[in-house]
């Protein structure tokens, strides 16, 4: 998987280097940055309360840490982020788990027939 919109690391030693330039990418995959962007955009639009989301995220991370023990390295941070976001949206009845599952199946089917994942954002067509 490519690193999406991230530029090549060109100024790793540069002054005040960006987070991605210190040898670590902020987002390791496009879905991570999309999930981040979706949550912040929802907050900006007033659709969710970031603090509600954040407490859910903390709970998710804590539960995961307990399950995985001391070896937990935060590497699946954005999976927890996405889990927390889904939970908040389902609780607020903005989306249902069934809807997400159904749409995910459609997208998985599309992707299986078209490996160009990166071009699917925002214009996949529901098979309804």
């Amino acid at each position: 998987m490519t690193s999406g919109g991230l530029h090549a690391v060109t100024d790793a030693d540069g002054p005040g280097a960006l987070p991605r330039s210190n040898g670590e990418l902020v987002f390791r995959a496009p879905w991570e940055s999309r999930s981040f962007g979706v949550a912040i955009a929802l907050h900006d639009a007033g659709a969710i309360d970031y603090e509600v989301f954040r407490s859910r995220l903390i709970a998710e991370i804590a539960a995961h840490e307990q399950a995985k023990g001391a070896g937990y390295d935060g590497g699946d941070y954005y999976e927890r982020w996405l889990d927390a976001l889904e939970q908040v949206l389902v609780e607020q009845q903005i989306v249902s788990e069934a809807e997400i599952g159904k749409r995910a199946a459609v997208i998985a089917h599309d992707w299986a027939h078209d490996h160009d994942h990166e071009h699917h954002h925002g214009h996949d067509h529901p098979h309804s």
Partner: protein, 199 residues
């Protein structure tokens, strides 16, 4: 690429598509957020704040009194940066920031946190044994330097004001900003010396 990652990418795409269809957010709005945090917000913002504080005593005073307001003077602020407390390093006190609960971080001045900041190892150990953790970052502090660890919360974010390196009296504010690294503002490093990069 594992199946696991594919699955989560599919779920993320499904959620985004549904929310856009329902009119809650637009693809453009998501793009704008991602672009902002990837390209516009980063430690270079914090570096300008630090450099200003080094050259302008009145600004440093304002920064101490109300971090968010002083940072806003330079045009930075907004989401998650509402209450900013600046913790100042001195020859006898070294400050370091952490978020023991999750990964709260002063986004407007540092961008998004690096992966190690989010690791349970850093979050737990920097509180329990800060000197050893800093040592692993290549920062060995004299035994008489007190280390203060600041635990960020949703309400309060911290930014470390590193000490101005010696031998920088003739540098411009811009040249000084170039010495201020991300790690020096988290407290896991110090500002670079002229002509060298900090660890």
């Amino acid at each position: 690429m594992s199946h696991g990652h594919d699955d989560v990418a599919v779920r993320a795409a499904a959620l985004e598509a549904l929310l856009v269809e329902k009119g809650l957010i637009s693809t453009d709005a998501i793009d704008a957020v991602v672009e902002l945090y990837e390209n516009d917000v980063g430690p270079q913002n914090g570096a300008r704040v630090v450099a200003r504080a080094w050259v302008d005593d009145a600004y440093r005073e304002r920064l101490r009194e109300n971090g968010a307001a002083a940072i806003a003077e330079l045009g930075y602020g907004g989401f998650e940066g509402d209450t900013m407390v600046i913790v100042e390093n001195t020859p006898t006190v070294h400050n370091v920031i952490v978020c023991t609960l999750c990964s709260c971080y002063p986004w407007p001045v540092l961008g998004l946190p690096p992966s190690w900041y989010k690791s349970s190892a850093y979050r737990a150990r920097v509180v329990a044994e800060p000197r050893a953790v800093l040592d692993e970052f290549g920062l060995t502090l004299a035994p008489d330097v007190e280390i203060r660890v600041w635990d960020s919360t949703a309400e309060v974010r911290y930014l470390v004001l590193p000490m101005r390196p010696p031998g920088t009296e003739s540098l411009s504010e811009e040249e000084l900003a170039a010495l201020v690294t991300r790690d020096s503002m988290v407290g896991t490093g110090v500002a670079a010396s002229p002509g060298r990069q900090a660890a």
